[in-house]
């Protein structure tokens, strides 16, 4: 039953990705910020290939476990290419200093970057403890961590979050890691309760980012939506990797929604240029 639902949601997710790929390919034809739109299309193609691989494997070898999750290569490609989009966009949006004529110095995001590196390392340690596949988890964690750092730096440099919001985000991340670590040492019943508590926290975060992106899109803001949607996308990935079964499927459905928001916010930023 769960497998049937899982397949349906995977197919819907893939269908959304196909739409996103076509949408971003149409953006390339507009001829604005071509490099950024090309990277974005490639990132979406990577996620699409990863999704197709997963479905094909499920259909062709339903009873066999992958000895090495080859579809995660596609996810790594997607993370790195999406990080390239954010970096390139950040570079494009740097203004020029009126006095010196040199590019403006960006606000330092050192603390936030260090925090996101530590958060990624903690997550990778948890993934290894859950799955035991240390090499895969380190590779995926490296690519995901890079995306997270780039997204956090962009959020800081564009002044998108207030100090209070940064504080709440940091608190949520620490709580997640601490609660998930505790869940290794408690009974099964308490473990389930802690898992649900963590997912509730992750769900609140996902909802928060979705609302912020939609609000920013409605307000006609061009600089904020894309950074917020990349940050939201990263949060959804954490939710996906931290859960299994029905909770994973919920996170996968939200991921499909985030893909659409990513495309819409990129479209807004590209068209405004």
């Amino acid at each position: 039953m769960t497998s049937g639902w899982s397949n349906i949601i995977s197919v819907i997710h893939t269908a959304v990705l196909i739409i996103t790929v076509f949408g971003s390919a149409r953006l390339i034809r507009k001829g604005k910020k071509v490099l950024i739109t090309v990277f974005f299309t490639f990132a979406m193609v990577s996620f699409l290939l990863s999704g197709l691989y997963w479905i094909a494997y499920d259909l062709l070898r339903p009873e066999t476990r992958m000895p090495f999750a080859a579809n995660e290569i596609g996810e790594c490609a997607g993370f790195l290419l999406l990080a390239a989009v954010v970096s390139a966009m950040n570079d494009c949006n740097k203004g020029v200093d009126e006095n010196s004529g040199l590019p403006q110095k960006s606000q330092s995001a050192m603390k936030e970057t260090i925090f996101s590196v530590l958060f990624t390392i903690s997550n990778v340690a948890l993934w290894i403890a859950w799955s035991g596949e240390w090499l895969e988890d380190i590779i995926v964690g490296g690519a995901f961590g890079y995306l997270l750092c780039v997204a956090v730096r962009a959020l800081k440099q564009r002044n998108i979050l207030t100090n209070k919001e940064w504080f709440i985000c940091g608190g949520a991340c620490i709580s997640l890691v601490v609660v998930q670590t505790i869940s290794f040492f408690v009974s099964q019943r308490t473990h389930t309760a802690l898992d649900i508590a963590c997912f509730t926290l992750l769900a609140v975060g996902m909802l928060y980012f979705i609302v912020r992106v939609i609000k920013a899109l409605k307000n006609g803001d061009t600089a904020k939506p894309f950074c917020l949607s990349v940050a939201g996308f990263s949060w959804v990935i954490i939710a996906m990797y931290m859960n299994s079964g029905i909770l994973y499927m919920i996170a996968l459905s939200v991921n499909a929604l985030m893909m659409i928001l990513l495309l819409l916010s990129l479209r807004k930023e590209v068209m405004a240029s």
């Binding site: 990577s46 197709l52 062709l60 000895p67 080859a70 997607g78 790195l80 390239a84 950040n90 890079y146």
Partner: protein
């Protein structure tokens, strides 16, 4: 059991001799073709060894290990050319084509010698699928590298991302053709469709960097 090294020597020697007499683009192409064949042999060694060490059978090695090793090894000479010679876009694409074509040719030669060449239909499918797949993945990679190389902020993540994308494409192809039936037909068509789609940006791609 085939003697892949002997086959390589047999095919490579005339090409190697021809290197002395050809010049310009033709020489670059022939040299890349030879490199592609060498890379194919080395990747077969490494894939076989990795499969053996990880305890996977031949089929699973082809599905899970080979795409990663083959794409990485095809990428390395291209990276070397890019880093040392800093060529123009057209030269980079030519070299990538040569490496891809050399790799596919040598792989097909070994496969035909091992499995037989009685069925023309199978040989045609094999040629059009594997042959095109290696060329397509190399062109994707070279185009990505040509675009990305001048943008410092994205060069590393972009190039590794493009490499991972070509691995994923290769892995999906290997998975689809690993089982008989409709999935294998989709797998055989995948490289040709991608080649047609890729031809549009390839035609418009600037020759100079």
């Amino acid at each position: 059991m085939i003697y892949a090294e002997n086959i390589l020597i047999c095919i490579a020697v005339p090409l190697f001799i021809s290197l002395i007499f050809v010049k310009g683009n033709a020489r670059q192409f022939v040299a890349s073709f030879l490199v592609g064949m060498g890379v194919c042999l080395i990747s077969a060694y490494i894939s076989g060894f990795t499969g053996l060490v990880s305890g996977l059978d031949e089929n699973n090695t082809a599905i899970f290990i080979s795409p990663v090793i083959e794409e990485t090894l095809k990428f390395l000479p291209l990276l070397y050319i890019l880093a040392i010679f800093a060529p123009e876009n057209d030269t980079l694409l030519l070299c990538s084509l040569g490496i891809g074509a050399g790799f596919a040719t040598f792989e097909n030669c070994c496969h035909i010698l091992a499995a037989g060449a009685e069925s023309l239909t199978y040989i045609l499918i094999r040629g059009l699928a594997v042959g095109v797949m290696h060329i397509v993945s190399m062109i994707m990679l070279a185009m990505g590298m040509a675009v990305i190389r001048h943008i410092r902020a994205v060069s590393v993540s972009g190039i590794i991302g493009a490499l991972a994308l070509s691995m994923m494409f290769h892995a999906l192809y290997n998975l689809l053709v690993s089982e008989q039936g409709i999935s294998s037909y989709i797998g055989y068509v995948l490289p040709i469709v991608t080649a047609i789609l890729l031809y549009i940006p390839y035609r418009k791609f600037p020759n100079k960097s």
